[in-house]
């Protein structure tokens, strides 16, 4: 029995099954529609009563709170939403929802896409600028990071006759991929000789840079199967010379903190750093809630924090203080560099990714699913996620990047060199989208 069969059996047993009511599924369509309409009518009557009661209670609560707050002369202790945020970088410096997406536009003209490919004309043309291959390169074992129009890094896992993957080489460029420099190999000892380093998953950030010199690299390994048991977080490396020399600052980061937590954990959706010293690694743990590892000394020591949202992607920051953490059902914001999080905001009924320009302006792609191919809409918030409104239809599900409240890009697929690649641009805040890049890749 292979891994997928075992997973299938486990899930089917865990979910279970109960037959529907007698006759369900055999009635003709009109009967089913009639039952649905009848139920909806009853619910609408109930909803009207409940809404009235809820409104009365809400008014009473609000009035009580207002009177209480005045009486105590108290000001709110938690800054729910700060004033205008300090936008120092149009792209989150290290991590973020599109750090590993199909494409990451860093200005109206220049950007990168997985491959890596590079564009200087807003995505009309893409040029493949990949570094050279290395011996025994592992399939899928590659992670990329794009800092600005010129600086990018590609880390590749490779093996030897004895192991599928046992070392990592980092390539760096400071001239948009025209030339690449290669680091010395970083030796890894996976638990099994068939283990791989990094999965072929575009949603995880394994490498990121705060600036052109200072970066971090997280190495995780485990079995190649998607049903594999826990993955090991092997080591965290840092560089201060742009990626030529790397030093190991932590082996098995967070192990002692997790041991105290007393639950097995597996590497989650990667890592992010808000400054050169403060960073996070998202883990999925057997106990609930999951753990979020945080370091405030550049990665040497890690402690466990309880996540403010379920299944978060690692937080990403607009400056050293203001950041957003996107979870599976909600978002959280911070104004103090991640010391405290306010997680009261909810996302719209999301099917696809969300992105934030700053702490107030965000967008999500929503599949309203009357037709999965056509009913994709952009939802936007301009108040930090308190309210979301449907903006416009969107042509494809993919990764969103907004440079300001007007200009944005949407990329879908596996990169410019693949058949399912598509790339769109908006200049009106997402109301209309124009496909670009039809000239293809070189």
């Amino acid at each position: 029995m292979n891994h997928e069969d075992r997973l299938r059996g486990r899930l089917q047993r865990a979910i279970g099954y109960q037959d529907p009511s007698p006759g369900f599924g055999t009635q003709p369509l009109p009967n089913l529609l009639a039952a649905s309409l009848a139920r909806r009518n009853v619910e609408q009557r109930h909803s009207a009563v409940l809404a009235f009661v809820a409104a009365v209670i809400a008014i009473a609560i609000v009035a009580t709170l207002l009177l209480g707050a005045r009486a105590l002369h108290r000001t709110p202790t938690v800054p729910v939403h700060p004033g205008p945020s300090l936008i120092e970088s149009k792209s989150p410096p290290c991590g973020g929802p599109n750090a590993s997406g199909p494409a990451d536009m860093l200005s109206a003209s220049s950007g990168w896409a997985y491959g890596p490919y590079h564009t200087i004309d807003g995505g009309d043309h893409w040029t493949k600028v990949a570094p050279p291959t290395i011996p025994n390169e592992s399939a899928g074992g590659e992670t990329e990071f794009f800092l600005d129009a010129n600086h990018a890094w590609v880390a590749k896992a490779a093996g030897s006759p004895k192991a599928t993957a046992d070392h990592v080489v980092v390539f760096s460029t400071s001239d948009a991929g025209t030339t690449w420099q290669q680091s010395a190999p970083l030796r890894i000892t996976p638990a099994a000789s068939t283990d791989v380093i990094w999965e072929a998953s575009g949603s995880v950030n394994w490498i990121c840079f705060i600036d052109a010199q200072n970066g971090v690299l997280l190495i995780a390994s485990g079995p190649a199967s998607i049903m594999a048991p826990l993955w090991n977080v092997e080591a965290l490396y840092r560089t201060s010379d742009g990626g030529l020399q790397w030093s190991r600052v932590s082996s098995n980061p967070g192990a002692s903190a997790l041991k105290r937590l007393g639950t097995p954990c597996s590497v989650g959706d990667g890592m992010s750093f808000s400054t050169s010293t403060t960073g996070w690694i998202a883990l999925y743990c057997l106990s609930s809630p999951n753990a979020l590892l945080v370091t405030r000394d550049g990665g040497t020591t890690w402690s466990v924090e309880q996540e403010p949202v379920a299944y978060p992607t690692p937080p990403y920051f607009f400056d050293s203080g203001h950041g957003v953490m996107i979870g599976s059902d909600s978002i959280a914001v911070t104004s103090d560099g991640g010391l405290t999080w306010v997680s009261s905001e909810t996302r719209p009924n999301r099917t696809f990714g969300c992105t934030f320009l700053d702490q107030t302006h965000g967008w999500c792609i929503v599949n309203e699913a009357a037709d999965p191919q056509t009913d994709l809409y952009l939802y936007a918030t301009s108040d930090g996620g308190r309210k979301w409104s449907r903006s416009a239809a969107i042509p494809s599900a993919g990764a969103l990047v907004f440079l300001d409240t007007s200009s944005g890009f949407l990329s879908a697929g596996q990169g410019p060199g693949t058949s399912d690649w598509s790339f769109y641009k908006t200049v009106d805040g997402g109301l209309t989208w124009r496909q670009v890049g039809t000239a293809g890749a070189q």
Binding site: E4, L7, R8, R10, L11, Q12, R13, A14, I15, G16, Y17, Q18, P20, S21, F24, T26, L29, P30, L32, L33, A35, S36, L37, R40, L50, E199, S201, G202, S203, I226, M227, P229, L230, W231, V233, T263, P264, C265, S266, G268, D269, Y284, L286, S288, Y311, S328, N349, R350, T351, F352, A369, A370, D371, P372, Q373, D375, A397, G413, Q414, D420
Partner: protein, 179 residues
């Protein structure tokens, strides 16, 4: 054939609408597999039946968007999945939910592990759970998973992989990260 009054009074009358007639033939065979999908998402017979009924109504109202000749399964599954999402977000629906009938019939040998995995599934977001249910509970190939989720096949694989990764600590408790 007797239609509900509000439907039979519709301007798009079933007797004269070719797409409606097509739906009459295509949808009913999908009710049972759609129920299984809804049950996998909601784990409640009542809610699963309600979700399929609501999805049928939604499909009827959006029937103009159905492309004649296309496979109705992913189209209808996507609508069912959307209904499930609405149901899961509806607090009243959850509060009114009765005793869990499935937990009583779960095998006792691995009951604890199953309950743990079930809790983990409940904590997953809608998209992760949908990917897992379509792929491993419905046993669909990735091209159908992709069509039902409205994404490309590589994206469906990637989403499923992400969801499995999130479940990993619950899949094999004997394997531990901590040495």
């Amino acid at each position: 054939m007797v239609l509900p009054s509000s439907i039979s009074q519709s301007s798009e009358d079933v007797a004269t609408s070719p797409d409606a007639a097509e739906l009459h033939a295509l949808l009913p065979p999908l009710f049972l597999p759609a129920y299984r999908l809804a049950f996998g998402m909601l784990r409640s017979r009542e809610e699963a039946e309600d979700a399929v009924q609501e999805a049928a109504l939604s499909a009827w109202r959006h029937r103009a968007k159905f492309r004649p000749g296309a496979d109705p399964r992913p189209w209808f599954f996507a609508i069912v999945a959307n209904q499930c999402r609405t149901f899961r977000r509806n607090r009243w629906s959850r509060l009114l939910r009765l005793a869990d009938p499935v937990s009583r019939s779960a095998p006792s040998a691995d009951l604890e592990a199953d309950l743990d995995l079930r809790r983990a599934l409940n904590r997953l977001g809608h998209d992760d759970r949908l990917a897992l249910v379509l792929r491993y509970y419905m046993d669909l190939p990735f091209d159908e998973v992709a069509a039902s989720m409205g994404v490309s096949e590589p994206a469906a694989r990637s989403r499923t992989q992400r969801a499995v990764r999130r479940l990993r600590p619950h899949l094999d408790p004997r394997e531990e990260l901590i040495p």
